[in-house]
Symmetry: C2
């Protein structure tokens, strides 16, 4: 029995495919520093489990298809605290940001239509688009200028009759780029002038450094009917395993379509919604010490990378990733070599090669994503190991 | 901004669309007996919340994409207790049976390909298939012979070059039909001889009455590579709000494709998997008293329906639904009239019209699904109300 062509064509997770090499290294007794994954080490706020434990449930029944109303209200209140214009009926709860992204693509695009996406982009966008026959048309950005968006004319030159929207994350994964207010305004203008949706993945909204803030697309009040905001508790509250996300829009047709998609799969888990409401009800001060902790780590990581010979890494403004251009022939080969052939004092590091975060063939071959979700001491040690590895790697190019 | 044609074409839930009429009736002070929904009133076993409350979680991290291994092991053990040949690596955990059904269709079919489905069928199958451009080709079954499958030649006459599988639920929703061992064998033969998948939705497996058992497709050992079993804790353990399902197959390519789909959306919620493991670890004796309770209700319902003038309802063998052919011009009109224009002693009933459970236009116009998830006293009273309503309805035909 053959499986469908489209299921064969789906990519395996490039982030997870090096795991067997890491497991083998650990089995040999090597300590592996995981710079490859975006799983925060921050404790999930205790209010989550407290709210879940307090739930008094005799029959764990279906919830409403658009989500538990108290959670929708708490998310609307969260937006309003930030000055965004969203109310309860603009919010629908989803199975993680993942489902919200799938729906947004499905609502924006018929089969064969496409969205523009600045590359490198979160590689799972591909897994969301492919089963629905939505094409990703990349807008290439470059490490040399910190992955800033190109000029308006460059982006507009990529628009075709099939283009239905622009999908982008801000702050971004994998490069940690935070778009300027001018870049956000430019994207809004492009959408208005070319009749496009903006699918704004803002799950890292609170993780901006150097005293800056990310400009939410929800502040672009002249194009609110074009905007679909994707959010999630995963990174915001270090609750990746809750799988609670949301899709938010002022566009009534978008919300009607989302509700039908919600009804088709009935509902989202009740307990996780109860816990997530407690997260969104946290005092906004919750974020300040966590942001400070990530900023300290970012500085450790980037300072170390920038001092390594031949490494290019502009300081990223947000999220908890950086993309570094490395003096190696191939970042995936290097990442495997780190796990199979290298150790320093019994230690090595695991990186995420970035080639699969690009849509354009050949891009990103010598780039790797480095996540800073380790504590500062481990991060310093991981940088010492990486520096030694780059010096020892036989495929070094510079 | 227009939304995609395919999102406009998706059906709103026909089960939920009468809800505004019911709310209006309740607002007038009318008691509404809900015969329209499949939400069991049985208490969720306490072990679910006990296991969740006991979970000691500092960081609620991503789970494995194929599911929490102890849950997969418990589901495999559950299958093995029933004599089915499945082991842990044959099982992947999904967001409810809903996601498992979506994946099975996606794995079996490329766009434009189709699955045969006996109609009437669970109407949400349509919502799973449509976004992926999978066509549903109906095999019509009839209330007059208890919705039994037609002869092999009739089914085979519907197979085209585009047909990739047969999707069916056993025991069935909406008609509560339990296929005989011969019918299951026939479907297996058709699949083998015509190179088809069998997508077997067996979520009501334990709910069979009159001392009978449903024959699982997992017992068809000559076609195991063609079989994809869909399961869920929703009905089995009255845990609809947990949204924990599973996809099970001996076909390695199917499981590899399912893992890629799982990686694309990362994972399923951790807490709900912890609770669900406790459910699958329950003593199999758990089901006997619940089955007895449903059987008593079924008898009350069907006895009453069969005594009503002009009503046709063959005794269903499983699940907790029956489809009744009613002496009315249109079952949806009747269902609305029940909520807007009728009451008996301040009470009325809510039915689910079955027309949308058929793919063939014009079928099922005067049929309704009646769920027996109320206690026996309420069910008797609901039948008294329904009988009076059928006598009073202006659109009565017989």
């Amino acid at each position: 029995m053959r499986t469908s062509k489209r299921s064969l064509a789906m990519q395996a997770s490039p982030i997870r495919k090096l795991v067997p090499y890491a497991n083998a290294a650990k089995a040999r007794g090597t300590k592996v520093y995981h710079l490859n994954i975006g799983q925060p080490d921050i404790e999930t706020p205790k209010v989550f489990m407290e709210a879940v434990r307090a739930a008094d449930i005799d029959v764990l029944a279906y919830a409403d298809s658009n989500g538990w109303e108290p959670l929708r209200e708490s998310i609307a209140a969260y937006y309003q605290r930030m000055g965004l214009p969203y109310v309860t009926e603009d919010v629908i709860i989803t199975n993680g940001g993942s489902e919200a992204l799938q729906w947004a693509l499905l609502i924006a695009c018929d089969p064969g239509e496409e969205v523009l996406v600045p590359e490198p982009f979160y590689t799972n966008y591909r897994g969301f688009a492919a089963p629905y026959l939505v094409e990703i048309s990349p807008i290439t950005t470059y490490p040399e200028n910190g992955f800033a968006l190109p000029e308006k004319a460059v982006i507009e030159s990529r628009i075709t009759k099939k283009t239905r929207g622009i999908l982008l994350s801000n702050p971004g994964n994998p490069a940690g780029v935070v778009y300027t207010a001018e870049e956000v305004r430019m994207v809004a203008d492009i959408a208005r002038e070319n009749d496009l949706y903006i699918i704004a993945d803002e799950v890292y909204r609170e993780f901006c450094y150097d005293g800056k803030e990310a400009t939410s697309f929800g502040t672009m009040t002249d194009v609110l009917d074009r905007i679909i905001i994707i959010d999630s508790v995963s990174k915001r509250f270090s609750a990746c395993g809750a799988r609670i996300g949301s899709l938010t829009s002022k566009n009534k047709e978008v919300m009607a379509a989302a509700l039908k998609l919600g009804q088709a799969r009935l509902c989202v888990p009740t307990l996780e919604m109860i816990g997530s409401k407690a997260l969104y009800d946290l005092d906004p001060d919750y974020f300040a010490p966590i942001r400070a902790r990530y900023e300290e780590r970012r500085n450790i990581l980037v300072d170390a990378l920038q001092k390594m010979d031949g490494v290019l890494c502009e300081t990223p403004g947000g999220a908890f990733y950086a993309v570094a251009k490395l003096p190696v022939d191939n970042a995936e080969k290097f990442a495997i070599w780190l796990l199979t052939d290298f150790e320093l004092d019994g230690k090595t590091v695991m990186l995420a090669p970035v080639e699969n975060f690009y849509q354009t063939p050949g891009m990103g071959v010598n780039e790797a994503r480095v996540a800073y979700v380790l504590n500062s001491d481990d991060l310093k040690e991981a940088m010492r190991v990486l520096k030694a590895a780059l010096e020892a790697y036989p495929g070094r190019t510079a």
